[in-house]
Symmetry: C2
Subunit: 201 residues, 2 copies
């Protein structure tokens, strides 16, 4: 089995949301699995002085708000910019890391489900009770997931993962690593696919 495709992301990133809907199928076409790597863009942005796209100067923010929608339509996924955007996603990320222990084969499903909920209607993406309900709806232990939000172990694990992202030079999301090749952005998926198909180019 070849190394999994690493998918580094923040649950609040619209472009990561779009890419997350298809990355497992893309990887599977080339005999690869996906290793989901939640991180916090807030931590990563500090290194380069970046800021959320909707908080850039008006002409940039306006363009991105329009491009989120258009890129979602192009990919065939629903998109409504949430009223509360961006938000911190540490609890969602901790639940994702908890899933890595509790039911690793369900992570992709969880990521797609909660990001779709957040980006297509009101959803309390980072609320522990809401997350517990999402996990319970998957037939898993919602209470344990909610507990993970306050668990020092998962707090540390998320912190360590953000530090690892910084060490790897990651400065945005989604960030896709194939073997040691880094691709930034939903718009690099065609290159990712070509790379997987050709073994590099």
């Amino acid at each position: 089995m070849k190394a999994p495709v690493e998918f580094w992301f923040d649950f609040v990133s619209p472009y990561a949301y779009i890419a997350a809907q298809s990355i497992e199928q893309l990887a599977a076409r080339h005999g690869r699995e996906v290793s989901w790597k939640p991180m916090l863009l807030g931590a990563v942005f500090k290194v380069t002085g970046s800021s959320p796209l909707t908080m850039r100067p008006p002409q940039m923010a306006d363009y991105f708000k329009h491009d989120f929608l258009r890129s979602a339509r192009y990919a065939g996924v629903p998109f409504v910019l949430p009223e509360l955007f961006p938000i911190a996603t540490q609890n969602t990320s901790r639940v994702c890391l908890w899933l890595q222990d509790a039911a690793p084969q369900r992570i992709g499903e969880f990521v797609r489900q909660v990001t779709r909920a957040y980006f297509s209607g009101p959803a309390a993406l980072n609320d522990a009770d809401w997350l517990a309900a999402q996990i319970a709806a998957m037939g898993l232990d919602g209470a344990a997931a909610a507990a993970a939000c306050e668990d020092t172990h998962y707090k540390q694990a998320l912190k360590a993962q953000c530090e690892q992202a910084i060490v790897k030079g990651i400065f945005g999301a989604p960030w896709i690593i194939v073997d040691s090749e880094s691709f930034w952005g939903n718009d690099r998926l065609p290159q990712v696919e070509h790379w997987l198909a050709q073994g590099g180019f």
Copy 2:
């Protein structure tokens, strides 16, 4: 005849260079011509506080230098990052505006030729004599082109075009406008093509 596809660019932009190689063929597949719109990113960047990609923090600059090359390979065009990069391109832009009067049907050829020269080997992209030689090699009036570099008329025309870019909310290159829909980046060409094919999406 439908309105031409507007291609706003700076001659020094690597992603504009890559997109410029195929934009006329792309537009032609949908019965459109290309209206070439040279501008200076230096003027446009002032509005949003942007900076050249290679002058960003090291992890970003390194990523982009790598991505220029990879995106060029992906598109099948040669690419070497010039030793002098980025440079001001006001003379090249003025010659381009002069061509709009002298031989408008040759602009695409000029853009592709001089960007390929700059991005595949040493070339004095913004030097009036070098530009004159490029124009002469096209069978056109090299001396007149060189004179355009110092001509108040073309200086004003370029300034006006940069101001128009700012009014349109353009903050990067390449910037492609189909009817009134704006697409930023070489990586949006698939969306541009889909938009042209579908009449919007």
